[in-house]
Symmetry: C2
Subunit: 154 residues, 2 copies
DNA sequence: CCGTATCCATTCCGATACTG
DNA sequence: CAGTATCGGAATGGATACGG
């Protein structure tokens, strides 16, 4: 009865995105993946979450094509988890949340973490760029052409 | 025991934002508020959600300073809900989710809704701008100066 | 070290009935 | 119309214990 209402099939792209990413952990896992985290244990320590639900979220993110597994960069028999192109495309969302939080959820002068520099040599290029000097990445609005296939309302 | 772990106090701005906005409905309510929705019933019809949890979410969003109530623009004795400046600052996040959804959650050519034009004359200026011609708003990355009070790591 | 499985409490959410 | 009250089912999340 109290079936959870799926928002897929909804005509609004925001609704579909929320359906996929709108939970407590998905976005934080993706954030950590942008920071270069790859291993189960790294995510688990970083997020301090129970292993069973981490496993569940990783599975869902892989099923959604946001993360993909590879056979373990070091010798270990286990998986590495890395962002796909679809996952990397979430970068503006992460940055948007980061900046909103910085500007609205911190007391003036209260210290906060910054975008982390990649530790290994893998993809995620957008983030690496920041490292050398003190500048940070910010989303701004710009004009683009109308997108095809649009209908109206909600 | 299974106390929900609060992410406030976390040094990462993304975590704090997720703690506030990372649930199924908060972002969709804010999206509707950007579309000009103001009344309880409007949100309820638009989102198709149960009235009790809508009431709960509206209360929490007001408590967070994201929405604010005013005594009802028409005669009615009830509340209007409108975005505060803090709520309007979520605009890049909404747009980011929208675009990610458009590009990654829709089949090629599948129709989707577009940003709705404001119906009344209230604030939310950023969205109104779009109406006249066919252009849409998109987030892009740009460089900004280093933000003050930053420490390191997640 | 990487997960899976089990258990349990809490929270979420939908349906409905009810009040003013 | 704008909520509140209550209910029950489902999902979430934490704490282990366990096996590869």
């Amino acid at each position: 009865m109290a079936q959870r209402k799926t928002l897929q099939g909804n005509a609004c792209p925001v609704a579909r995105s929320v359906d996929v990413m709108g939970d407590r952990w998905a976005l934080l896992i993706v954030r950590d993946a942008f920071d270069g985290l790859r291993r189960f244990g790294e995510f688990q320590r970083s997020l301090g979450m129970a292993k069973n639900i981490l496993a569940d979220r990783l599975r869902k993110l892989v099923a959604q094509g946001i993360l993909e597994t590879s056979p373990g960069a070091d010798g270990s028999a286990y998986q590495d988890y890395a962002l796909t192109a679809k996952g990397q495309a979430l970068f503006p969302v992460i940055v948007g949340l980061r900046q909103w939080g910085e500007q609205n959820l911190f007391a003036p002068g209260e210290p906060h973490s910054v975008l982390k520099e990649r530790s290994s040599g893998a993809p995620v290029p957008a983030l690496v760029v920041r490292a050398q000097d003190g500048r940070a990445l910010a989303p701004v609005m710009t004009w683009v052409e109308k997108l095809p296939g649009s209908t109206d309302s909600t």
